[in-house]
Amino acid sequence: MNLGEIMLDMDYRRRGYIEIEELKELGLLPPRDRLEKGPVAVLECPEQIPCNICAPFCPTKAIQMKKIIDIPRVDWNKCTGCGVCVAVCPGLAAFVVDLSKPEADYVTLPYEFLPVPVKGDSVILLNRRGERIGVGEVTRVWERNKTYVVTVKVPKGFGMEVRGIWVERR
């Protein structure tokens, strides 16, 4: 590890959120051409925590981990963007982004609050810092052990920004 990486490391640990630049440096972002092909997983899990839940659950064996403390690495070519990792990750750190559509981006994220969103809902879009950056439309919702996996249609260019949604109480 060189000094630059250590400095980087300290930054997200101080802020509690990670910058896209940092994800890129850490090799956690899919390459541009893959992003433009269709839905793909982004695991925002940069530390060597003792966890490997996502790896055995991935139906295409796209997530490689030798030891329990390894950082999960996605083989972007094997990943189909199915969203299973989003549902099982206990750190709520797995997302699927689809930047391939011309009219909008799509983000699939975990949601564990009430009320549960339903297809067609408009929801508030939150970035990694918790700022409200717009409104999106829910296009798909499914559940696994009380974690809801929600796909939202977000304005073009927001696919790498939106990491949370807020559903106003009905």
């Binding site: 300290m10 640990r13 509690g16 060597q48 925590i49 966890c51 839940i53 329990i68 099982v88 918790g130």
Partner: protein, 467 residues
């Protein structure tokens, strides 16, 4: 008043908005529940005439009479129960504590044919797992991905199907005596237990922090609030400030949001967030600020918390004048760390050591988790604070270690193999994470070789042993 079956008195009162349970003896200051797991005594009330009853551990029943306590009280005028049944039990293994460490040990030992008695002072088994609604980390074979309370349910279901296990809930083990006898009491029974081996997996208690008015109701352990909302579904307050950004603080903040409580901020005295990044990211994206380099200064309130004042600190952790920020909150949750509860080990005469990395005083032990008291084992948080997965692994190690002593031939070889595999995984894989290096260092300091252990036993002969 009405209450739900399976609730404790403390919860039933909290649910209807009663948070002052007693007044302190000298200054008459209001007291309310703090830890919710029977460790702190701030929930004492007079129950059916009995003063100093821990209401957080007392299940509600039809017709109970509960009174607030004012200062020192007089003992009840007559015995509450006419006759206490006294029982003697001989068993292979006694397990004290029904958290993940004790449950894992109990399930392994009972499956292998050992007679097991498992005792817990709570009226249900599960320990800290009961209040954990979040999904666990780890790997799938260690229950990773399941929610804490689901892990407890799985264990209990499995245990109840074993004929050679005896479960004693609402029963406190209070002492170890000469001849290797262990005493326990429940509200109506007295037990004298003679085990051949003991695993004491008694868990931990939350640490407190000193600041003005920290005794006001509304200042609570993070675990206490977790019990209120996650185990019993009662909202602990409306607006909260969390002190401490370790995993416990970060997780509790998330669970407060889920319960509809507004989390104003998390304050952390260090310059960096204490817990794992993924837990921090989870609450930051819902807009909860984490103020590093800040601490709580004081709280204000009449009979409960109404306001909290936080302050920035300099490099030497001294408050910086003029940097105060005020929050209108009714909850201040302390998540500044846990302290092992190894009082039984100490009382039994096991050699103890103070290890800051492990949160406090713990018994010295071999790699197989045996203390200087022969056949007294330690596992889980009481052996030094880590987390549930390591508690499970330590429970497993203690169980295999006991099994290996009582088996021979093929069986002994296969038990040794399992023991070795678990030790290797725990030390060489799991604890090799740089994020766990502090606890690992602590556990290294607490562990001695078999030869050193014999030397310690010669030097400091323990008063009892089990065999």
């Amino acid at each position: 008043m009405e209450a739900y079956e399976g609730e404790s008195i403390a919860i039933a009162l909290y649910a209807i908005g009663i948070d002052v349970f007693s007044w302190s003896p000298k200054l008459g200051r209001p007291r309310g529940p703090l830890c919710m797991i029977g460790k702190c005594s701030s929930c004492f009330m007079i129950v059916d005439g009995v003063p100093n009853t821990k209401t957080c551990r007392f299940p509600v029943r039809e017709g109970l009479r509960v009174e607030r306590q004012r200062g020192w009280t007089t003992p009840p005028p007559k015995p509450i129960i006419d006759e206490v049944e006294s029982l003697e039990i001989k068993t292979d293994v006694l397990i004290i504590g029904g958290g993940p460490a004790g449950l894992e040990a109990a399930s392994i030992l009972s499956k292998s044919g050992f007679n097991v008695v498992i005792v817990d002072e709570h009226f249900k088994l599960g320990g800290q797992l009961l209040k954990q609604t979040h999904k666990f980390f780890g790997s799938v074979d260690l229950f990773g991905g399941m929610r804490g309370f689901q892990i407890a349910e799985a264990y209990v279901k499995n245990l109840l199907s074993q004929p050679n296990i005896r479960v004693l809930t609402e029963t406190v083990v209070y002492g170890v005596f000469r001849g290797g006898l262990v005493s326990a009491v429940s509200p109506s029974k007295y037990y004298l237990i003679k085990p051949r081996a003991v695993i004491a997996a008694t868990g931990a208690q939350e640490k407190l922090l000193e600041f003005p008015n920290n005794d006001l109701p509304g200042v609570m352990g993070a675990g206490g609030a977790q019990t209120i909302m996650n185990e019993y579904g009662v909202k602990p307050g409306e607006r909260a400030l969390v002190v401490g950004s370790g995993n416990v603080g970060l997780i509790i903040a998330y669970q407060l949001l889920q319960a509809g409580v507004k989390v104003e901020a998390i304050v952390e005295i260090l310059r960096e967030i204490g817990g794992w990044f993924v837990h921090a990211a989870k609450i930051r994206r819902y807009g909860v600020p984490i103020l590093t380099g800040h601490t709580i200064n004081y709280v204000v309130g009449d009979s409960r918390v109404e306001k909290a004042v936080v302050v920035a600190v300099d490099e030497k952790f001294n408050p910086i004048a003029g940097s105060e920020k005020e929050y209108n909150v009714d909850l201040v949750l302390l998540a500044i760390g846990l302290e092992p509860d190894a009082r039984l080990h100490a009382q039994a005469g096991a050699l103890m050591k103070y290890i800051p990395e492990l949160g406090g005083l713990i018994p010295l032990r071999t790699r197989e988790l045996e203390t200087t008291v022969r056949n007294l084992y330690v596992a889980g948080d009481s052996s030094g604070i880590e987390e549930a997965t390591t508690a499970i692994l330590e429970g497993r190690i203690a169980a295999y270690s006991i099994m290996s002593k009582y088996s021979d031939g093929e069986k002994a070889i296969s038990v040794e193999k399992e023991l070795d595999k678990t030790l290797k995984f725990l030390w060489d894989e799991y604890r090799s994470s740089p994020l766990l290096s502090r606890a690992r260092r602590g556990k290294e300091l607490a562990t001695v070789s078999k030869e050193e252990m014999e030397e310690l036993r010669r030097k400091y002969p323990p008063p009892v042993e089990f065999r």
